[in-house]
């Protein structure tokens, strides 16, 4: 097994049974999860919502990737990702979102993971697997960059 750099995904930042009443509520929960693992200051969460209001982070296949603004970067302590699944769905300006990948980044620690996520979203079967799994280990397995397997 090659030694792959660890993904910036803390097991505590995966919640697969979340519920949100609105898009902003879902984003706030993604932010609170990043806050809970010590990746950000609370101020970052407001910039995540601000960013979403200017341009949606919906990326297709029922997935959104909420993250902050350039100004919000100062409130990021380290690169981190949170994965929240909303089995009941969230209305994302008309698009039904089931999975949110919250992002806090100072550097490029999250790039491999996002790159893998893009590959998953281009493959409807894998996108469906990611949307439907209730198993955190499976989320890790799916997001692990293929080159490291």
């Amino acid at each position: 097994m090659p030694d792959a750099a660890p993904l910036p995904l803390d097991p505590r930042a995966i919640r697969l049974d979340a519920e949100a009443g609105s898009r902003d509520d879902a984003i706030r929960q993604c932010g609170e999860t990043l806050l809970a693992v010590g990746a950000i200051d609370e101020a970052y969460i407001a910039t995540m919502i601000e960013r979403e209001r200017s341009i949606s982070t919906y990326v297709g296949e029922g997935v959104a990737i909420p993250h902050g603004t350039l100004a919000g970067k100062d409130a990021v302590h380290h690169d981190a990702i949170s994965v929240l699944r909303f089995p009941g769905g969230v209305d994302w300006d008309g698009e039904p979102v089931v999975l949110c990948v919250g992002i806090a980044a100072r550097d490029d620690g999250h790039v491999r993971l996002l790159s893998e996520l893009a590959q998953i979203l281009l493959d409807p079967e894998r996108a469906k697997a990611l949307r439907e799994t209730a198993d955190a280990a499976e989320v890790f397995r799916l997001l692990q960059p293929a080159a490291d397997e």
């Binding site: 341009i55 297709g60 902050g68 603004t69 970067k73 992002i103 980044a105 999250h110 790039v111 893009a118």
Partner: protein, 102 residues
């Protein structure tokens, strides 16, 4: 309207607000799609687009800021982060040769 021949494109910049999320994702897709061609793909914040960018790819909602930041550089706006027709067209022109128009 600016245009550029695909063989003169050495650097494509994917611009977004924070350079944190969607632009990173799109840049990685472009890099994969254009692998083997002599072109570099970068992602940068929209207000610090490098002067040697030949083509800027950015979300339509950021196009005005990108134009203000790099006037005169060819800009390809898109709406969808995955599978946007404008990006697909850019990739196919880069691969097959031809003129890229705004």
């Amino acid at each position: 309207m600016p245009s550029i021949d695909s063989k003169d494109v050495k650097k494509i910049v994917v611009a977004c607000d924070a350079g944190m999320g969607s632009s990173v994702m799109l840049a990685s897709q472009l890099r994969k799609s254009l692998k083997g061609l002599p072109v570099e793909v970068e992602h940068t914040p929209v207000n610090s687009i490098p002067a040697d960018a030949d083509v800027i790819v950015c979300h339509a909602g950021l196009a005005d800021r990108a134009r203000a930041s790099a006037p005169g550089t060819l800009l390809v706006p898109f709406q969808l982060f995955i599978g946007d027709p404008a990006v697909t067209k850019l990739v196919s022109t880069m691969k097959n040769g031809g003129t890229i128009n705004a």
